[in-house]
Symmetry: C2
Subunit: 351 residues, 2 copies
């Protein structure tokens, strides 16, 4: 059959989202989700929300949630941008800030969505190799570029950089926008927030998916200068004015208001992470230092893909990336202590 | 101050979302929102939703909502695409299907977002003038093009075209994707759904914002051939894999399941629309025939902008577009009978 309209379609390799195990009694340590529920105020928002108000459009500017975030971070509401998860924020930021012919730079081992956005938006890019220990060398970024995106801490390595490193990076890259992707920053890394009012070309992207246990609600945000945020808003409003639904706005606000619960949850995850790292080292694993809610590990005597498949059979789901340099590593999300105990038991059996 | 990074920012005219009146006791007839609440099952979903499940990512494929919509429209789930409101669906469709150097075509008077997306994605376009009565002439679209997008019924005119018209359009445009934007179709127009299995280049876009009273929840969808839907999914998954949050998916499903409530709500809006048209004609307005939840009207003796401002002072918000050909027209959303009575009273006072 002749289908002439096919010529006008976008040719793109389908990006396939990660595996979502359908079985029950699964230990799900593959998506860096938080094992604890969101702040109690979130359940209260859902229980008391008046459904009839959903007939009206939400506030396109998300004023209340922006005000809550501005208060938390000590910035102006006009320095806050909201998006439908941090992927939405990053996708809009790539379109908004990487508009030169020069290649943007990011590490060779990092969040796998960066090259996907570059391909989609036809942004030239170059990857910068991490060193043998998976550390970032700031001097590698001292070269002409169209922009920089760096996750801190990095994923899937879990390693973080210091505030001094970030300031050095910004000082040497005043002629481009530097995006610091802080999806995992709340688990112990140093945020770039103190640099916001000094560097107008700095954009910080965060998410409520990990540290605030709200992956299901799709709430991401960016903090930056009013110049950068205004550009993001213009592009967003030219794409979809109403990305945040009324419930996401209310739920996000409820979460931000419960700082003590948030801090407590992060502390629990960090404690379990440190205990897990110790246990895994005792089992012979090499464990990278992590400032995230996951651990990046390798075993000198066992093949990562074999461990991955073994655990999968036991209904324990972790993450294995068949990629250059890291194809003998495993990424393990930090769950509850009980979930980690099941992991240790299965690993002991295997080893 | 020297700001070299500014050169790398996207230059774009900020698109400003419509006015959201903040006062109370407002008659809000400016955003084509539904005056009735969503189906009762929606409130039940919110009341009983377990917030702890929000710690997990939502189903990126929205399987349950797709299955519900597929059942309602008699298509396969692989012929259904979900998005964060129909604006998200349309933005992705423009990126997915309008990838040639030929201009896409749409009416000169239509949804104001089309040129915004063309500018954002750098898609060439030509507008096709409606006739003097604001009707679409199908023969005007018999020319080389990169794609067609046509709202049926059209906005802000409210006029619809027949199924025969749509089939004629598709028969003469087999070499491009034809998008029929059915945001308002449930208020009396003929849907293109019966043509879906005959024309593989047809994409139908609908929304739950209007007829299902869920503007606050951001749920749009597209129906089309598996070829078109697969391309949309590939582009969407390269942009943001998780556009639909867990609550939007559950709320959408609950709405689709209450067909009788949905039909009843549409009937009530249509009845009030017909009564409103009669009342406005009695007041001397020229009222275009409408198949939507709004009326497009003009008064031979009074300036539209003056009527608009007068009503605004009375806390009655309608819509005025300062645009060529329609700058003496007003778009009035159909509210409850009580809301329309307040409108009539204010207009009588004014006239």
């Amino acid at each position: 059959m002749d289908k002439p309209f096919l010529d006008k379609l976008r040719k793109i390799d389908p990006y396939v989202p990660g595996e979502q195990p359908q079985a029950t009694d699964v230990v799900k340590l593959n998506a860096n989700e938080n094992p604890y529920p969101p702040a109690p105020g979130v359940q209260e928002v859902l229980r008391t929300f008046d459904a009839s108000s959903l007939a009206l459009y939400p506030d396109a500017n998300g004023r209340r949630l922006k005000a809550a975030l501005a208060g938390r971070f000590g910035v102006k509401p006009t320095q806050v941008f909201l998006g439908n998860g941090s992927d939405d924020v990053l996708a809009l930021a790539f379109q908004s800030f990487f508009c030169s012919d020069q290649p943007i730079l990011y590490p060779d081992i990092t969040y796998s969505f960066y090259p996907v956005w570059c391909d989609l938006f036809r942004i030239p890019y170059e990857t910068v190799p991490l060193d043998a220990d998976f550390c970032v060398n700031v001097r590698d970024y001292d070269r002409p570029n169209g922009g920089i995106v760096l996750p801190n801490p990095n994923a899937p390595t879990g390693r973080g950089v210091s505030l001094d490193f970030l300031e050095d990076l910004l000082q040497h890259n005043a002629d481009c926008v530097v995006i610091i992707d802080e999806a995992y920053v709340d688990f112990g890394a140093q945020s770039a927030v103190p640099l916001l009012n000094k560097y107008e070309n700095l954009l910080i992207v965060q998410t409520m998916s990990k540290s605030r246990s709200l992956a299901g609600m799709r709430i991401g945000y960016a903090l930056g200068s009013e110049t950068l945020i205004a550009t993001l808003e213009a592009v967003k409003n030219s794409y979809n004015s109403y990305t945040m639904d009324a419930l996401a706005l209310a739920v996000g606000e409820a979460s931000v208001k419960e700082e003590a619960y948030f801090q407590d949850t992060c502390r629990k995850v960090i404690a379990t992470r440190e205990r897990t790292a110790e246990e895994l080292r005792a089992l012979g694993f090499t464990v990278l230092p992590s400032l995230t809610n996951f651990l990046f590990v390798t075993h000198p005597k066992k093949d990562a893909s074999v461990i991955f498949e073994y655990l999968r059979q036991k209904n324990i789901f972790i993450r294995y990336f068949k990629l250059p340099r890291i194809d003998n590593y495993l990424r393990i999300t930090v769950g509850t202590d009980g979930q980690m105990d099941r992991l240790f038991a299965a690993l002991k059996e295997f080893l």
